[in-house]
Amino acid sequence: MIPTICLVFLFFSQAFPQKDSSDYFDINSTSNIKKFADYLFCADDYLRAALEYEKYLSSYYNDTVEFKIGLSYSRIGNYSKAIEWFNKIKNNSGFSNDARNEYFKSLFQSGDYYNFRKYYSENIVNNDKIRNLDKLFYFSYFFTDDELPPRNDFLNPFNLKEENKINEFYQRKTNPPYKSVAAAVIMSSLIPGSGKIYTGQIGDGIIAAIATGLCGYLAYDNFKAKHNFRGWVFSGLIAFFYAGNIYGSAASAQIYNAGIQFNFQNDVKLYLNQQNYFTPEYDFCK
């Protein structure tokens, strides 16, 4: 009896722990590299996580790890690498759909909208997950100068809850409330300051009108009273204010228009971020 107990004890105490301790010993063993990479991934240290996962993949094939490498690169904004890794995931993998979603998301986020649309059109498949990508497909038109697809087609992939917001973006893209630079210049040439008021710079416009008008009056009055030197000083000031005001109106219209475009793209990006670019959240760190 005792020898049997001893042998069983020996077996369990040495044989099984031995397996763990070999991992325990070598902190650079393949399984430990993966454990460390998982830890880095969950600590948001994505670049290091990706490099460790890549080290792991040199010994074993694992599609989850491939997907996590793609995600890591995507999360640090290295979209070209992310695209490369999502592209590697095979069609028979459980991650193939997610990888395709993430591939297109990375392509979109890299700002390569033309290739996004080209590849998407070539790979279009009718299923629910891809339908989510339809939304991104239409959103890409907000960032290019291409003509927008008809409103009904555009709204088609979006649900009722999203439709209002998309309609608003569509409206802002098709009819941006731009101010005409030519109109601002002409207005300021005719009535100093009016071009600035037109572009929303009301305070500047009023000051420009008063300064030019005042100098004009003083120049006229001084010439009339034969104070030619002061007359010329005020004339010089009128020329300075008048030219500055026309130039300022043109610049103000351009700045206003750039602001409209910038705010529009910012709002769209903010909305896409809130929606996580219509891709699901993955929780590998539970």
Binding site: I2, P3, C6, F9, L10, S13, Q14, P17, S21, Y24, F25, D26, I27, N32, K35, F36, Y39, L40, D45, R48, L51, E52, A211, L214, L218, D221, N222, A225, H227, F229, R230, V233, L237
Partner: protein, 289 residues
């Protein structure tokens, strides 16, 4: 079972138990050796200025060091490495972890000083000074007053308060190199108030004081011209002309002259400070933030 058999099985049992514990202790030693090798490897990477890899290896060490034997030294080194890469917030995060894992007062003091040094470097001087104050009032570090004064002096240098810096270095050593440098910088600085007062009394004089002669002459010329036209308008009973020229032109150039004098004095002072900081960065051999 015979007596001999009993003895035999007893010895067998004891040997197996001994083998089990011995083998585990062997594993433990091997593991500690591995961690030591890992730490040395990370240090080597740090010394070779391969900072990204050094941090990776140190993080690996921390991850596998379940006994937390290297928690202080690894976190301290990660902080140091982030600091070398100018990632100051990350550096402070890891120095704070080093503070948490410090095992004695010396380690605690060193990691707190490291946090202060990073705060000095990233110019969050108020934070650095408040941390120095808390170290100063901590009885455990009553024998570290000189170090505290030394780093307070550096904090004042980075805050551009060279006079206060000189006072702190004086506490370290009345003949300290940094004390002399701080005094020298303080003495060679321009007085911003003096520059403004000079320009207030005589337009352009503040610019002359700071060595900007052309700007001084221009400022004087513009003020003379618009001053003359303004006064002339009032003399000729063209009151409205006088007010407009005086307000729109003369006062504008007069205010500009004051602002200019202030700006030039500040710029000159910055130049002097930067020259001193440049010297400290490249030629001073003592401990630096």
């Amino acid at each position: 079972m015979t007596f001999v058999n009993k003895i035999f099985f007893y010895f067998l049992f004891v040997s197996l138990i001994a083998l089990f514990f011995n083998s585990n202790s062997f594993s433990q030693n091997e593991f500690q050796k591995q961690l030591k090798i890992q730490f040395d490897f990370a240090k080597e990477l740090y010394n070779k200025e391969e900072y990204f890899d050094a941090i990776t290896e140190l993080k690996r060490l921390i991850f596998f060091d379940k006994e937390k034997e290297y928690s202080y030294s690894a976190n301290e080194l990660i902080g140091e490495t982030y600091k070398m890469g100018a990632k100051f917030s990350d550096a402070i995060q890891y120095f704070t972890l080093a503070v948490i894992h410090s095992t004695n007062n010396e380690e605690l003091f060193n990691s707190k000083i490291e946090i202060i040094r990073v705060n000095i470097l990233r110019r969050t001087i108020d934070r650095a000074l408040s941390l120095l104050d808390s170290l100063d009032s901590d009885k455990r570090f009553s024998n570290k007053k000189i170090d505290i004064s030394y780093w307070r002096g550096w904090a004042y240098i980075f805050e551009d308060k060279w006079n206060k810096a000189a006072q702190e270095f004086n506490k370290v050593d009345s003949d300290h190199e940094l004390k002399k440098l701080s005094e020298q910088v303080e003495n060679s600085k321009y007085s911003v108030a003096e520059a403004k007062i000079l320009s207030f009394i005589f337009p352009g004089a503040g610019q002359f004081y700071t060595g900007n002669y052309i700007s001084g002459i221009l400022s004087f010329g513009w003020n003379l011209l618009w001053g003359y036209i303004t006064i002339n308008s009032f003399i000729k009973d063209r009151i409205f002309d006088g007010i407009v020229v005086g307000e729109l032109l003369w006062l504008r150039f007069y205010r500009g002259n004051l602002q200019n004098a202030e700006k030039f004095a500040e710029e000159k002072n910055k130049e002097i400070s930067n020259k001193a900081l440049n010297f400290l960065q490249f030629e001073y051999n003592g401990p630096k933030p």
